[in-house]
């Protein structure tokens, strides 16, 4: 599943060590000296129980990870310092495939450092109080943990997402204990009660075996002071917890922002750059601006990603005509659509005829803008293509001008539609195309209502995007 050699080998080409010693940084030289299996010491987060330090050391020196772990546990039983050492290693040894260690990132996290110091000293206060019990266990195992707590805090705040998830898994049981009242079930209450009973019994036993009640006094004092600390610092802890939540939200927002930025970069910024470079060609500039405007609109208001085809509905087909004509002929097309419905053969023919009429207007009329109007009515669909260009005398069109005659007329009549051409020289042209709608099966009103609804949901998602 995971092969550590394949990633790390190319990162450390041997010739750099031998051929150009002056280029080596101290770190590289250090790693070089300590090379066991030809790789620098790296943590192995893929094969970890906690931080992947043991697995990393095992890889590095060629032991079995299990051996390293057992040795570690034994050592940590013998003296408490093994645990903080482990955390320090976690902090300082970079993970495989990662450039920097967590520690190097933590250096810039001043809030995290402050938090680490605060939590460490908090634990120190506890230990100091507990020291009143004269227990040597606290001395041997407790004090090193001050360092552990500080390191853990830094790791928690600065570890990459993947490693944080591992830590979260470790913390989860605690969370469920302390978790909000909403989640607390019957079982948890029982468990808490049981734990409390056991705790009290255990304490009682401990005290009884000590036989002297003199121990009780410092213990009570410790408990009191602990309660005071909780009272004092409780709100602060809560704030820390809230900060963590806020941090997570901020990360989500940052991701959304990055997505937005990449889209804006892909489309808007590129177009703006193009526009600046073509500033001497007004027509090109207008064309670019129009194309960009269209794309943005369809993304913002209709929730469609740029480049996504929309030709599944009639209004979508009309917009496609707009896009193509503007792109190919450089004439702006103003589109207004009223209503929408799914496409069928007849409407496909209507779209083709409308496209032909629009292209015709773009090519021949000389108008600076073409308006394309489409209305879906219950019994028919109407498209009007209008320009304020040269116009022509409809009676004087030679029969070999195939555009209007064949593509538009022929197409429409074959599917049962009709064409009306209104034109006068100098006043522009208007081509009106009408196609009766097939008596839609039973739910004549249902189909448009359905598309209206999908359009509405699309707009709603678009609305969310905009926020």
């Amino acid at each position: 599943m995971h092969d550590p050699t394949d990633q790390s080998e190319p990162a450390w080409p041997p010739y750099r060590y031998h051929g150009h010693p002056r280029w080596q940084s101290h770190a590289e030289r250090w790693r070089h000296r300590h090379r066991g299996n030809g790789e620098p010491l790296r943590r192995d987060p893929e094969d970890r129980l906690v931080g992947g330090v043991a697995a990393g050391i095992a890889n590095w020196r060629g032991f079995s990870p299990t051996t390293v772990r057992i040795v570690f546990v034994v050592v940590s039983l013998w003296g408490g310092w093994a645990v903080p050492l482990y955390f320090i290693a976690w902090l300082l040894i970079p993970a495989q495939n990662a450039e920097a260690s967590i520690g190097s990132r933590a250096r810039h996290d001043s809030r995290g450092v402050a938090l680490a110091i605060a939590l460490g000293s908090l634990l120190a206060v506890f230990l100091f109080l507990a020291g009143a019990l004269n227990d040597t266990t606290v001395e041997t195992y407790g004090w090193p943990q001050v360092l552990s707590v500080a390191c853990l805090t830094l790791i928690w705040r600065n570890a990459p997402e993947s490693e944080q998830s591992a830590m979260r898994r470790l913390v989860e049981p605690l969370e469920s204990l302390a978790g909000g009242g909403a989640k607390r079930g019957h079982g948890t209450v029982l468990r808490l009660a049981g734990a409390a009973v056991l705790f009290v019994v255990g304490m009682g036993w401990l005290l009884a075996s000590h036989a002297s009640l003199a121990l009780l006094r410092p213990l009570a004092a410790v408990l009191l002071i602990a309660a005071a600390i909780v009272l004092l610092l409780g709100p602060w802890w809560l704030r820390i917890a809230r900060d963590l939540v806020l941090e997570r939200q901020a990360r989500a927002r940052a991701e959304e922002r990055a997505d937005m930025a990449s889209r804006v970069h892909d489309s808007v910024l590129q177009t703006l750059a193009l526009i600046q470079r073509r500033a001497d060609d007004p027509q090109q500039v207008v064309q670019l601006a129009r194309a960009q405007e269209r794309e943005l609109r369809s993304w913002l208001f209709e929730g469609r990603a740029p480049g996504e085809s929309d030709a599944t509905s009639f209004a979508g087909g009309i917009r496609e005509i707009q896009r193509d004509v503007e792109a190919r002929h450089g004439v702006p097309v103003e589109v207004v659509t009223v209503g929408d419905c799914p496409l069928d053969d007849d409407l496909g023919a209507l779209l083709a005829a409308a496209r032909e009429a629009t292209v015709n207007a773009a090519k021949w009329s000389g108008a600076s803008v073409i308006s394309l109007y489409a209305e879906v009515e219950p019994d028919q669909v109407e498209v009007a293509v209008r320009d304020r260009g040269k116009g022509f005398d409809p009676d004087a069109v030679p029969s070999d001008r195939k555009g209007l005659a064949e593509s538009v007329h022929g197409r429409m009549t074959r599917h049962g539609g009709s064409v009306a051409v209104q034109s006068a020289v100098g006043e522009g042209t208007k081509v009106t195309l009408r196609m009766p709608r097939k008596a839609a099966p039973a739910g004549g009103a249902a189909a448009p209502a359905e598309t209206a609804e999908t359009a509405a949901t699309a707009r709603k998602t678009a609305g969310r995007n905009r926020r």
Binding site: F301, E334, V338, E375, P378, R386, K430, A445, R459, A462
Partner: protein
């Protein structure tokens, strides 16, 4: 002096100065504002004939300005202006009381005409607004929808109004529309004004549902 007195409300300084430069000769610009609160303050102080109002403003949108000013000064008229295509925004501003809506890509001369028209009490429909309105009133109301309000007249467009709107949606000017339908420009204007009134007052089920789908009230 017959030049309309205008206030510009738009959060884009670049756009404001552009409009100001373009309109300089034909209207008197009394002032500019870039947000809801300063806009209300300015309008109530100078009482312009027409407020050129961006639909999208940071502090609550154009309709907040209209709602605040209309109460005290019903004779200040609003012309909505926007780069947006979202019907919900446009219709919301119209229903709040704007006398018309034009897109920001409008030519300077057309914009000046529109301001003049709004100042004289008429309504101004851009082709896009005409499309939205037709869409909103579209489709014969099904029997379930015929739940007439206090004034059933408000719930439907007459066929003449529909024709006028259709032509405007196709990019016809008022003059061209008048010629096409063999009526006077004044008649076109009165049709458009009555459509505007219906749009603002209608409680037509169809329209309210259309509005609800687009999160309007």
């Amino acid at each position: 002096m017959s030049q309309p007195r205008v206030v510009l409300v738009d959060d884009h300084g670049l756009f404001r100065s552009g409009v100001r430069a373009e309109l300089g000769q034909r209207v008197t610009v009394l002032g500019e504002a870039d947000d809801v609160a300063p806009a209300i303050e300015l309008i109530e102080r100078v009482l312009p004939d027409v407020v050129l109002l961006d639909v999208h403003l940071p502090g609550g949108g154009g309709q907040a300005v209209i709602a605040a000013v209309k109460k005290e000064h019903p004779d200040v008229r609003f012309l909505a202006l926007s780069a947006s295509d979202a019907p919900e925004d446009v219709i919301a501003v119209i229903r709040a009381g704007a006398r018309g809506y034009v897109t920001k890509t409008i030519a300077a001369a057309d914009l000046a005409d529109a301001i003049q028209r709004v100042a004289s009490g008429d309504a101004v429909f851009s082709h896009r607004l005409a499309g939205f309105v037709l869409d909103a009133f579209a489709a014969a109301p099904s029997p379930a929808d015929v739940k007439p309000s206090f004034d059933p007249e408000l719930d439907q467009l007459t066929s003449r109004e529909r024709e006028v709107l259709r032509l405007i949606a196709q990019g016809y000017t008022y003059k061209e529309t008048a010629r096409e339908l063999y009526i006077s420009v004044k008649t076109v204007e009165s049709h458009v004004s009555s459509v505007l009134r219906k749009l603002q007052l209608s409680s037509r089920h169809q329209l309210t549902r259309w509005a609800a789908e687009r999160r309007l009230t």
